[in-house]
Amino acid sequence: MDRIPILKLGSALLVTIQVDMHDRLATALEEDLTAKIVATSAKGVLIDISALEIVDSFIGRMLDNIAAVSRILDAVTVVVGMRPAVAITLVELGLSLSGVNTALNVDRGMELIQRRLAEAEGVDGNIEQ
């Protein structure tokens, strides 16, 4: 069965979605990703969708699910690289991806995760600001 590769990038995991997602592939990605978050103690998940020509409610739900499960496992999900036409269409479709953080590209997404990590450490009281 096809699998979407998950790369480790510092304290985060990077998933680049380049193929058209179908049901089983989406389910496999959710399972693989959650297993990998636990195995690597990742604090962030970057999902690069710059190759996707559309995001429908099926993919939207998948992204929301991944973000929700990751959050429970103490990892922040950032969806990066959404094409402008996809963003316009998503809003008209009625999908706001409210549970998902977004960033323009992988670099910005990584910054967002680092910032969250720094804030979390600050809250723990180890770092005085």
């Binding site: 179908h22 049901d23 559309i54 409610s57 269409t89 479709l93 009625g94 999908l95």
Partner: protein, 135 residues
């Protein structure tokens, strides 16, 4: 309205939904739709194809390149022999679903299209027609 080309595709599996998207993209590009308009009609097609799959166990789509005067567009007719929709107004409401989806498919497809019509009979099936024109 003149129909310059048409083809029919079966929707039986999740992979067929992807094939429908690819065919719709090809027709939308041929009709000269802008990138945003292409994205809208492909997304609407994806929602309706998935609806046919999830709620009716499958169906078919007729993809047509249409012309009217000097404007061109793409028209899609999704038909299934599923259980039908008892209350269409309710089904068009965002967030309403009888399945596991988000309940955005039908209303979303309507918003993403220039033309939208739906006919449904309980116990017989559902037919949804959408069109997007070059602007």
């Amino acid at each position: 309205m003149a129909i310059s080309s048409s083809e029919s595709l079966d929707i039986r599996t999740s992979k067929d939904v992807i094939r429908v998207r690819q065919e719709v993209r090809t027709r939308a590009v041929e009709a000269g739709l802008s990138l945003v308009d292409q994205t809208k009609i492909i997304t609407a097609a994806s929602e309706l194809a998935r609806n046919a799959l999830d709620y009716a166990g499958g169906g078919a789509v007729l993809i047509e390149a249409v012309e009217e005067g000097n404007r061109r567009g793409v028209r899609l007719t999704f038909a299934d022999n599923g259980p039908g929709i008892p209350d269409i107004e309710l089904a068009l409401k965002d967030g309403y679903t009888t399945g596991k989806g988000l309940g955005l498919g039908l209303g979303g497809a309507r918003r993403l299209s220039n033309e939208f019509s739906i006919q449904s009979k309980v116990g017989e099936g559902t037919k949804v027609t959408i069109a997007r024109w070059k602007t």
